[in-house]
Amino acid sequence: MSAPIIRVEGLGKRFTLHHKQRERYTALRDVIAEKARSMFSSSTAKGGTSEFWALKDLSFEIGAGDRVGIIGRNGAGKSTLLKVLSRIVDPTTGRVTIDGRLSSLLEVGTGFHPELSGRENIYLNGAILGMSRREITAKFDEIVDFAGVERFLDTPVKRYSSGMYVRLAFAVAAHLEPEILVVDEVLAVGDAEFQRKCMGKMKEVAMGGRTILFVSHNMAAIQNLCSTAIYLKQGQLVTQGDTPAVISEYLKDSGAAARVDLASRPDRQGNGAIRFTGFYLSDDQGRELAAAQSGASVVFNFDISAQGDALRNLEVAMGIDDQYGQRITHLSNEVSGQSFPTADGATRISIRIPKCPLRNGNYSFTIFSKVNGEIADYLLNAGGFHVESGDFFGTGRSPAEDQGTFFVDHSFALT
């Protein structure tokens, strides 16, 4: 790693939570009432406030020119970290040293004014993001060209379609030239075509030797863009290292979150010769996963409990539905050509997918079993699981989001 451009030491950020409060802001009345109350009562109970550390004792270094992805679940402190680095909020403890100009892109179109024209907003937004008037003028044509809004430059942006609005906003931001760029989830906007363009631009910026900090839930984007990654969990650093290693660490972590309890489901059919009692995802070594990843192997595990001991001719089938309830595929030991004449003493059924072809998203499944030709247990919409995006083709590229719901391995030939 080159000389650190950002050094974070023991960083912490504390928020005080007010449990009782319903409004977003404090009313003076409440403060006075609270003061009056505490004057008359000797107790120090403070009416339900508690502390919450969004970041705690966080230390890491980022070298000049590094492209760093920041991953973690919702509430892991990613956005808070970016806000502290961008000097928007003050840390509670610790220290951050930054050598260079840092620009943050926490939201596209910050400060856009609906009444102003596209041209005026380019200048305004540029100034807000820290560009000088001269810089903006120099890049003006490039920005307009990138956004593709030449014809509407003098139209107020309130009359823009949302797509145009976002394109213009991203275009301004993409032409910033700081030494350090901090980006939060901005790629989750616009149509597929534009997202590709954004990604390309981001890559171009990254290759230009600038330092980039990129927060996203899109693992494919992180894999594609970032050489190293940081995994945050509950405001603390779990690992920092090469992107693939950190992502797999992230996916393996907190597997319990993906467990589905099936034992107590009343809405089941069948004679109960066996019962599905639970479901979880694991990797090939049997370690639980929080989510599958496109292109990686995954094992669907069903815990079972058997009633009686004469389990003959076990048949199991699993149907997978997409988020719209559309059946995508059907897995069964019948089509895979495996038969289980006896299954006495078994406690788990595992289905291994060597290379998960599903796109990132949420999926639900239905599970079905037969024993001795009779339906034993049948749970419609038994549960769900999540697939994170991944590099299915090993090329760092994927078809656009609107181009289908799963991947198929393929190769081309020219003859």
Partner: protein, 280 residues
């Protein structure tokens, strides 16, 4: 480009605050420009509103002053006396109320980008100053109509324009920073503006108060605590010269309160500024 080192620590941010403020002056101008551009968009008469509002107020104040027979020095048209007070008063009122709301109405900026937060109130003050400059044309027109030429005292006018800025910025900053946490102050603002008009010598003059034996001295001192008393007495002095004897005790108190408010306002603003993004 010079490598710039930034150190972020709890309660820091102050090391280079004023230098930062200077570096961000471009943003200040852009924000002011935005507000000016936006203010009269989609209105039929546009910038004329900046003239129409004071004109109507001047008319009403002139009528009230005439009705109650406030003192007007010999040879000075009453309408000029009223105008010389209405313009700074409206300057103060818009500047103060816009400043007080400047943080709340730009909360999307506060939570998404860094800049010295003082930029926001300063830019709104600048916008009010532009409105004031436009409205000042009324004064010029009225003087031409009455063929009135002010004496050399008129060159002191910028001092009192500055004093208006000081007093509106001081109390505006204080309320703006309180407003972030306690939205009660949103309701205090229109009240201060409304109430202020009654205790400020717009329809009447300071002589009416200070030279009236029926007014107890305590009330006179309370009256002098209004920062706008010094501003308006000053404006009238600049425009109508020696015919306006300034009541120096009251003038000093009033100026002192303005400066005090500015100091308190800046201190409170700077002290709470780092937490704005957390609680707004």
């Amino acid at each position: 480009m010079v490598m710039q080192r930034v150190v972020i620590e709890p309660g820091s941010g102050s090391q280079h605050y004023w230098r930062d403020l200077w570096q961000y002056r471009g943003l200040l101008l852009f924000l002011a420009w935005r507000d000016v551009m936006v203010r009269y968009k989609q209105t039929a008469i546009g910038i004329l509103w900046a003239v129409l509002r004071p004109v109507l107020t001047i008319g009403a104040m002139w009528f009230i002053g005439w009705l109650f027979g406030s003192t007007v020095p010999e040879g000075t048209p009453r309408i000029l006396m009223v105008c010389a007070a209405t313009l700074p008063w409206q300057f103060f009122a818009t500047s103060f109320s816009e400043t007080a709301n400047s943080l709340i109405s730009n909360s999307n900026l506060l939570t998404k980008v860094y800049f010295p937060r003082l930029i926001l109130p300063l830019s709104t003050v600048l916008v009010s100053a532009i409105d004031f400059a436009v409205a000042f044309l009324i004064m010029v027109v009225l003087m031409v109509i009455h063929a009135y030429l002010p004496g050399p005292e008129v060159f002191l006018l910028p001092v009192f324009i500055l004093l208006t800025l000081v007093s509106s910025l001081g109390i505006g900053l204080l309320i703006a920073s309180l407003n972030v946490k306690y939205r009660d102050f949103r309701y205090v603002v229109p009240f201060i503006v409304q109430f202020g008009l009654y205790v400020t010598p717009v329809a009447f003059t300071s002589q009416d108060v200070f030279t009236n034996p029926a007014v107890p001295s305590l009330v006179k001192y309370l009256y002098a605590c209004n920062p706008m008393v010094a501003v308006i007495d000053g404006f009238r002095y600049c425009l109508f010269g020696a015919s306006q004897s300034i009541h120096w005790d009251g003038f000093a108190i009033s100026c002192g309160i303005s400066v005090l408010l500015l100091v308190v306002g800046i201190i409170h603003f700077r002290r709470t500024e780092r937490g704005f993004a957390d609680i707004i």
